[in-house]
């Protein structure tokens, strides 16, 4: 039976790249798996309570899922969908980032104002770092030297030295920071602020604010334009920013920090993931319970795919090696 499956898969992979997008459904305790080619949900797997953050190991051998209300990070075999084991994560893990060493997982414990550092091989907590209230956004610099935690109520980006696991700087951002990302070359840190309605760009060398990105959608009050998750294309052309309850994705030029376009998607858009060649972008729309697929070249929404209730996180999984 297994042999047949493998055979079928490998046959398949020579013809079409059947890659997947994994979407965590916060209020269904499930993950919906979307086939990138057919743009359909092909599998739904059950996970712990209130799944949010999701990320694959670098070799895609396992997937890590924050099961916030189960107070654990689950390690799942992506082929079978089975939970292999759970990692000690501290309370209420919301979002995390895997260090480039593929060994340390930095987890934001939303209810505890702590960032927990877990060794995923030894399955133990190696450090807990006091951060601001309601930590959420997590980022790691490409060189692995710095990890960022942003705290929603304290309104800061905390810069953590990964050698010492200590905070080396705290920089204020606008109200309710949600997500952080380094630029691909590591020279910039971007932090979105949901209630502030901005993205602050920091120079990572000086940790000084370098630019502020503002958003404006005709016919939508600025209070509803709430930047949350965002993703950058590798070619440095675009940054796609989810604008929450304004139901739009902004397309930002990372060189000029200007918005090029707004794309209408589903309701309360949270996070997103690209497919392998970054020709498609999949956005999770919390309130409408679906995923919008965006054609990156044309900057157009092409399709909505129904998933579970309150889809939140998204991650890409190649199935062809």
């Amino acid at each position: 039976m297994r042999f047949v499956t493998i055979l079928a898969l490998s046959l398949f992979s020579t013809t079409v790249a059947a890659d997947e997008i994994w979407v965590t459904n916060e209020k269904d305790d499930t993950i919906s798996i979307i086939d990138v080619e057919s743009e359909k949900v092909i599998r739904t797997i059950e996970v712990g309570e209130r799944p949010r953050g999701i990320t694959f190991a670098q070799d895609y051998s396992v997937v890590f899922v924050c099961a916030s209300d189960s107070d654990t990070v689950q390690v799942i075999d992506p082929d079978t969908g089975k939970v292999l084991h759970e990692l000690p994560s501290g309370e209420d893990p919301e979002q995390f980032v895997l260090h480039p060493n593929n060994k340390l997982l930095y987890i934001a414990n939303e209810d505890d104002a702590i960032t927990t550092v877990v060794d995923v091989d030894e399955r133990r907590v190696i450090a807990q770092i006091d951060v601001g209230i309601e930590p959420e956004g997590m980022a790691v610099s490409p060189d692995g030297k710095t990890v960022i935690t942003t705290s929603e109520t304290t309104n800061m980006a905390h810069w953590i030295d990964t050698e010492t696991q200590k905070i080396i700087a705290n920089t204020l951002v606008d109200q309710r920071p949600r997500h952080a990302e380094f630029s691909h070359d590591g020279s910039e840190l971007w932090v979105s602020a949901e209630i502030g309605g901005t993205i602050t760009v920091f120079d990572t060398e000086t940790k000084e604010e370098k630019a502020k990105i503002l958003f404006e959608i005709t016919g939508v009050h600025k209070d509803k334009v709430q930047p949350v998750g965002f993703e950058k294309t590798k070619d440095g052309k675009y940054v796609f920013v989810a604008l929450g309850p304004s139901n739009h994705i902004a397309v930002v030029d990372p060189k000029t920090y200007k918005v090029i376009d707004y794309i209408l998607v589903g309701r309360r858009v949270w996070h997103m993931a690209f497919n392998a060649d970054e020709s498609k972008l999949f956005t999770t729309n919390g309130v409408s319970g679906d995923v919008t697929i965006i054609d990156v070249e044309g900057l157009k929404a092409t399709k909505s795919v129904k998933v579970g209730r309150f889809p939140w996180g998204a991650a890409f999984r190649p199935t062809t090696k």
Binding site: I133, T154, L172, E194, G196, G197, D223
Partner: protein, 389 residues
Amino acid sequence: MVLRTLVVALSFCLLAHQIRAEETIQIGYLEQLVPRPPILSNLDEIPENEGFAGAEIGLSDNSTTGKFLGHSYALEKQIVEEGGDALAAAQTMLKVSPYLLLNAPQEIISKIAKLPEAKNALLFNVSSRATKLRGEACRANLLHTMPSRTMLSDALAQFAVKKRWSKWALIHGAYDADKFYLTALEKSAKKFGVTIVEKKQWNFDADMRRNAAQEVPLFTQDLPNHDMMVIADERGDFGRYVIYNTWIPRPIAGSEGVVPSAWSASVEQHGAAQLQSRFHKEHSRQMRPIDYAAWAAVRTVGEAVTRTNSADLDAVKSYILSDKFALGGFKGRPLTYRKWNGQMRQPIVLSHARAVVAIAPLDGFLHQRNELDTLGLDQAESSCATFTE
């Protein structure tokens, strides 16, 4: 030009009053206990720390931020017994710190705000919903984190219009507070085009726990046809017995049923679940509107201190009233202050015990400046003169 002056003034303050490392930002909390009149039900329990519990959560939020910036905060509480001298207590507290939260009836808040000691102070009304305090009785040193009755009734009127439940029958109690709420409801009805088919005062002095089923149908039988019944019963005396006992089946709102408020235990969107859980962990009970207002007041001071890096009253106050100020308040929109009367702009929750039904401003109620200004006293109708002096 005005803005530029403000910016210059601000930066000057920044230079002049940087917080010293060992300095603690003191915030006072003054509560005047008032006699609670008896109500029919024996079930309601008002927590003793209502208000202060919220201030404590605000303090811990401020302190967490502060520890990364070298700012520390402290709360000082004074509870004045029934018939005690709240003014004297306020005078003492204002000597220690210019930031003072007031959980007291409207008259006392007014008197404290007029004290000479309060001239160079920033007071926060965290309890009174009196519209008057935001109107003719407003004071330049007094901000309001509790929404006014008018904000609540406007929220309810928007909801009714949106649902097309725009014919109201009003039932109100005999107490002053009920009548103030009634006035606010009538005003909101006019503002949003709701028709009040009849209003009727509740006068029964019988014990409704036993005979609501008999009395309420009769009491509501002669009301003209209506879409929604709105109850003004601020003490929670009779309203609860009206639900499911009316002559015709209609949704109920106001003091019972769908209740407009600053905060309710059923709010969970926009990260609110986290504030609720922090509160519950600390105080083992649900967070109430006064707790929320006190939390917001303490956070307002904290936010201004954080951003200006100053504990100086003038710097803090002008920052709070500037366009730069914005506070994340777990209700989906930034909280700011109205420059014409010091009221904190905020979404109003319309909820029942188990869920949020809607959040005002509802979609479609537009405003040239800020949709939140569709709720409560707008600038054009403001009779507050002293505020912008």
